[in-house]
């Protein structure tokens, strides 16, 4: 496992931020951490990066205890609400962080223009960071996280302040990183983004994991289907199956098991009814999040 956390706890003063959190992230996985403000997401990430010491429990990153210099060399991090030093130009800033990260000079010289190009920041090399828009700063922040070609990326709100085109761009870039074998650990409030990006998510509530699983499993709503028949057609009475009409020639079915839909289709065709649309119903991550994080219980 790239990330392994066992019974992790953190208390600030008397206030518990994390309470018995356990999770694991596999190599090459995009793992999303969801939760309301103050749920403990950033604390968990900071513990994994060795920035904050846990009060109890243990955590490993790349099979080593968190916080060692050896591990940090292989990690990229984009914090939420980061404030890049504004007296640097983009390339200077990347060169500075690259040197601190231990990236050799020739590698920095090659990677920096490459990353600036990939993130749409080429042509602004002489502009100081104070002249950057919020979206540009976000992309520059992402560039510093990617510069050292890390094995694990921790991204806190990676598309915050970025326009939809830029967001799509960043999503594609992160998927490319995943394809290279990089593991991503993402915190975000943009649930639609997370749904498109993440393989697995966990929802933190009051410092505890309230729910975890793959996005596909969590958003599946049993075997609910919606069907649309050709205009003017109605549900054949010969089919011994109760379908609820939800609109003109539109029906919703709840089946007992996954394979029953094949029997329904055969029955419809046998009755001479023309099918125009068939869709398996899923709930969104947002529905799920609101149910879990927004609800009263954990």
């Amino acid at each position: 496992m790239v990330v392994r956390v066992e019974n992790l706890g953190k208390v600030y003063g008397r206030k518990p931020a994390l309470d018995g959190v356990s999770l694991a992230v596999a190599p090459g996985e995009i793992f999303g951490l969801l939760g309301q403000n103050g749920a403990g997401k950033t604390t968990l990430v900071k513990i994994l990066l060795g920035l904050v010491a846990p009060t109890s429990g243990q955590a490993w990153l790349l099979d080593s205890p968190v916080g060692t210099a050896k591990v940090r060399e292989k990690v990229g991090y984009l914090p939420e609400d980061h404030r890049l030093p504004e007296y640097h130009t983009g390339p200077n800033l990347l060169d500075f962080y690259g040197a601190l990260q231990g990236v050799p000079g020739p590698v920095r010289a090659r990677r920096i223009p490459e990353l600036l190009g990939q993130l749409g920041l080429a042509g602004r090399e002489r502009l100081k960071v104070r002249g950057y828009s919020k979206g540009m700063k976000q992309r520059l922040g992402l560039a510093q996280a990617l510069l050292a070609q890390p094995r694990v990326l921790f991204l806190d709100e990676p598309t915050d302040g970025v326009d939809p085109v830029g967001r799509r761009h960043i999503r594609d870039l992160l998927l490319e990183e995943r394809a290279k074998g990089v593991t991503l650990f993402v915190n975000s409030h943009l649930l639609s983004e997370m749904e498109q990006l993440c393989d697995r998510v966990a929802i933190l509530k009051n410092g505890r994991i309230a729910l975890t699983g793959t996005v596909a499993d969590l958003t599946r709503q049993g075997d609910r289907w919606q069907l649309e028949l050709a205009s003017g057609e109605s549900w054949p009475a010969t089919l011994n199956l109760a379908a609820q009409e939800i609109g003109p020639s539109r029906y919703e079915l709840v089946l007992a098991k996954d394979g029953d839909i094949d029997d329904v289709l055969r029955g419809l065709i046998g009755s001479g009814v023309k099918l125009r649309h068939l869709e398996r119903m899923r709930s969104t991550l947002e529905d799920l999040y609101l149910d879990v994080a927004g609800g009263g219980g954990a």
């Binding site: 920035l51 640097h88 990260q101």
Partner: protein, 465 residues
Amino acid sequence: MSQNSWWQRPSVFVAILGDSWRETRDSKVLYVLLGGIVLLLGVVLTARFEPIPGSKQYLQLAARACGVDTDGLDATSLNAMDMAGRLRGALYSLETSETVDDAEDLPGARWRVILRRQGIPLVGGRDTAEQVSERFGKIAEGRLFVVDSIEELEDRTTGLLGIQRWSLLVSAGRDLRVAWPHRMTLFLGVVPLTSDSGAPLGLQIFILYKLLTTGFGAWIMLLVGVVVTSFFVPNMIRKGTLELLLVRPIPRWRLLFYKYLGGLMFALVLLVALVGGAWVATGITAGLWSPTVLWAVPILLLFFGLLYSCSTLVAVITRAPVPAMLMTCLYWVALFIVGILHGQVEISRMESDPANKSQGISLTDLKMNRNGLGPRPRPRQPDRKPLYETTFGQVVESFHAVLPRDRDLDNLMDRQLVKDLALAGPLRDLTSRTGSSAVVGLGITLAHLGGFLFLACWIFSRRDP
């Protein structure tokens, strides 16, 4: 990806210094200050030092000194008994003196001198030409004149009366120009700064150095340095910036320490510009190159390092520049006040115990007393305890014992300057008087600096971001 550990990567140090340098340049204050320094030095470059004709007093002094053993002469305890004990059994005097080839009577000239020795008639010994040649113009370790040639003027009659006469051809020794009175003007002669009788060139340069480097100039530089650099650490450790640094594979204390060194670099650039510029400008205008003034750079850098370490500690604790700035200034003022009060305690001790008069005296004190500016010995009031015996005096001394002494550092600089710019031995002798106090001062300063820095690094390493 490099797998080297942080100590194998000097690029980290270079990167943080580079970052500090960019931050410094970005503040624009550096350029304003450098501009101010250039302007100031431009004014210095308009200064003119004109020697005032008149060698007589120095030739007379050199002649009289031939009859006195001036080695190790102590200016602070100089008295008639001392001088009497140093007489060599004959009195020397200058009979005539004139410049050679009708040259102007200035330090660059050569002089034909008739020197007269009055010994004890009939029984007294005689001095050889070699002895006179060696003694003439030498005062303690200083040399006003050198003898180029000497010839004894034989006269049987006067010889019987114990009189010897020599004709000497002399030229300026290495210290003559420093002692020679010069008239100083600014703006190419438009604004006179000295009276018509002038003042010794060495003294004028000494005052100029003091004004530009360890005095007024240093105060301005240090104050601006404290203000500007008090933003460096809080900027680095603010939320959102700090995390981007702490996630790197570098120990936290090293990040802070390197940032501290970056702040010192800011001060170093200014100090080198100010002190180096003052050295070059006075060298060009006065023709007097005293490299010891360059000691002001490390001495002032050390004091700035002390203030900046205090600023760093407060910044790490509060994460804000204003408290860092205020606390540092407060610390500085406290050191200054303790220094002033300690001076008063020392004076009270000297007044009470004459044996201590020559111990630990600073050049500043000496000058103040000589010019009548400083506190004069007051008649002892028997019903009143001297300050150093009071509780207040003891409290001041306790604080002074454990706090850094900026005045000691200042005196250290003075002593170095005196070596180049004082007339000769007597003042130079002062340089060895307060050596131990300067060493202790340096030690305490370094201890405070190290303590502040250690504490700052320790807190920074342990605290959650």
